[in-house]
């Protein structure tokens, strides 16, 4: 009996916390499905729409280029992930396996970047991006490069890959070298396939971080056709000033891709094996 009560109260608390976690979305979904004849400010509020309709989704879909935002987000997140994988692996390898002059300096310089928050240096980063003509007023391609480059590599990624290379037995390299591999071939053909699990972790967490990035794109982007999803969604507030049905529908629509991604990859996020991987 005591055990039953204990389990009951644990479930009770966890259900309450789960509901609090998802309630803001539920309320947004509820609002997005309410038709014009239903007062969305009604007291008492109703969760289940009385005047159920998909019209808000259809309406917002026709007025806002969600496909465009989605494609832009995919290009930026895809490019950021790809560059992070390549650059982190390349930089992590010598730090794990080679002896060279200046290794300590390289190591600590990279470590130092962890302490520099982007928010504190964003102004010069913007000025440099302008100087390099990596903005959307030059061309779309330049705009995308400008969105990607400041996040093309991170100390977190480099250290993660360094750790992965440290775990590979040295005999692997010796065998490959004796077989006549160059160091370049050794890296790409022998070592990279062996650190795939770490690359997957890096890819997933870089993707989530890049997908949700808001500050940088809202600083550099000038053309609406270049908007990524977070910037586009924020813009809904201006477009539909007090039409909360549309704002709600648009916000929910924009969340669907990342929700699918999360559910498909959930074990990476909630297993706890990759603790601290996402930037807070």
């Amino acid at each position: 009996m005591k055990r039953f009560l204990e389990k009951f109260s644990i479930h009770f608390v966890l259900i309450a916390v789960s509901l609090l976690s998802i309630f803001p979305f539920i309320w947004l979904i509820s609002t997005s499905l309410k038709g014009n004849s239903e007062n969305i400010f009604a007291y008492p509020p109703t969760i289940i729409p009385k005047d159920f309709t998909w019209a808000n989704y259809v309406g917002v879909w026709h007025r806002v280029d969600f496909i465009g935002y989605f494609v832009n987000s995919m290009i930026v997140a895809g490019g950021t992930v790809l560059l992070n994988l390549i650059l982190s692996a390349m930089a992590g390898y010598p730090l794990a396996r080679m002896e060279f002059k200046g290794k300590k300096i390289a190591f600590f310089s990279i470590l130092a970047t962890i302490m520099i928050p982007f928010q504190a240096i964003m102004l010069p980063v913007y000025l440099i991006t302008l100087k390099l003509h990596l903005v959307d007023s030059v061309s779309d391609v330049a705009g995308f490069i400008g969105l990607i480059m400041p996040f093309a590599v991170s100390a977190f990624g480099i250290f993660l890959m360094r750790q992965a290379f440290l775990g590979i037995p040295k005999e692997m390299e010796e065998a490959a070298i004796i077989d006549g591999c160059s160091v370049w071939q050794l890296f790409w053909k022998v070592l990279i396939p062996m650190v795939k699990p770490s690359l997957a972790v890096l890819a997933i967490f870089t993707f989530i971080g890049s997908w949700g990035e808001f500050l940088w794109p809202s600083i550099v982007l000038t053309k609406e056709s270049m908007y990524t999803l977070p910037v586009g969604v924020n813009n809904l507030q201006g477009m539909f000033s007090s039409n909360w049905r549309y704002i709600a529908a648009g916000s929910i629509l924009s969340t669907i891709p990342i929700l699918i991604f999360f559910l498909a990859m959930q074990k990476y996020f909630i297993s706890g094996e990759n603790e601290g991987a996402v930037k807070g």
């Binding site: 966890l14 509020p45 010598p94 060279f100 964003m122 102004l123 440099i128 959930q266």
Partner: protein, 290 residues
């Protein structure tokens, strides 16, 4: 092991990442300090070297103190809650119960959703005639101006940050809980210890390093909040919800007062670097193998 790589190989491997870090981290870092000694407020094209004038202006500005105070308030409210509450949830989830995966997914959901969508969702909850004010009136109180009353706005925004962080820190704690030896709990059960004493005497001491880690990471991210404020209040009303990053953004990109904004950025740098140093050298030594 024999040396199988050429003299330049290590540098060539490091070059691409090094270039990116140089251009987008190190140069901007020094440029931030450099810009803080110039005055751009009279002309954006012909800045004047003014030495530490921006800093003097900064430390005489009531708005700056207000912003700094808001930022630390953010810290004092959000950090203790984010250090303790997710631990409590993690302990509950760690009991042998059913539905653990579902609970984890639901509680983690706010972490992966874009902060912009989260802020919009809360803005809607906080609306003047919104659902939260309905609950407030149910209890016989007057509706609250969640985002429009200077006494409330900052706390309303802090709630969003906390809500979005719980799942993240819960997972960190869950990983740490796995390392607590089960025998200790069994010993507690034999002694007949209750839930609270069990965790106060076994769990908490064991995962103290993780609690410290969560405290510093959440403090660092609290220093960096931006999107919540940008989407929900724009720092208002009357600067009541303005924090340091938002103020830097406003000064730099809206007022084009680059020198003044940079001086503030230097202040932010100093604070965050202090927290980061504590974090790296005290709690994450293993991660970087120092």
């Amino acid at each position: 092991m024999f040396k199988y790589y050429g003299k330049y190989a290590p540098y060539l491997f490091l070059l691409p990442a090094g270039l990116v870090l140089l251009i987008f981290f190190f140069i901007p870092f020094f440029q931030t300090v450099y810009l803080s000694f110039f005055d751009y407020s009279s002309s954006i094209y012909h800045p004047a070297l003014v030495g530490i004038d921006n800093y003097i202006k900064l430390f005489h500005s009531p708005v700056f103190y207000k912003v700094l105070w808001n930022t630390f308030l953010y810290l004092f409210v959000a950090v203790p809650i984010l250090a303790i509450f997710p631990l409590f949830i993690a302990i509950l989830i760690n009991q042998k119960i059913r539905g653990v995966t579902l609970y984890k997914i639901l509680i983690y959901l706010p972490v992966i959703v874009s902060i912009v969508v989260a802020a919009i969702a809360f803005k809607w909850l906080y609306a003047d005639q919104g659902i939260l004010n309905y609950l407030v009136t149910l209890f016989g109180m007057k509706p609250i101006g969640w985002l429009t009353d200077p006494n409330w706005a900052l706390y309303s925004v802090i709630i969003v940050t906390i809500w979005k962080g719980i799942g993240y820190y819960m997972i960190i704690y869950l990983a740490a809980l796995m390392s607590v030896p089960q025998e200790l709990y069994e010993a507690c059960d034999i002694d007949g210890a209750n839930f609270l004493t069990k965790h106060l005497t076994v769990t908490i001491p064991h995962i103290m390093p993780t609690i410290a880690l969560v405290t510093t990471i959440s403090a660092i991210s609290a220093m960096k909040v931006f999107a919540e404020i940008y989407v929900m209040t724009k720092g208002g009303p009357l600067n009541s919800s303005k924090t340091i990053v938002y103020y830097i953004y406003e000064r730099a990109f809206e007022n084009l007062d680059l020198g003044y904004a940079s001086a503030m950025a230097v202040v932010l740098l100093v604070i965050v670097m202090a927290f980061s140093l504590i974090n790296i050298f005290c709690f994450e030594r293993n991660k970087y193998q120092l």
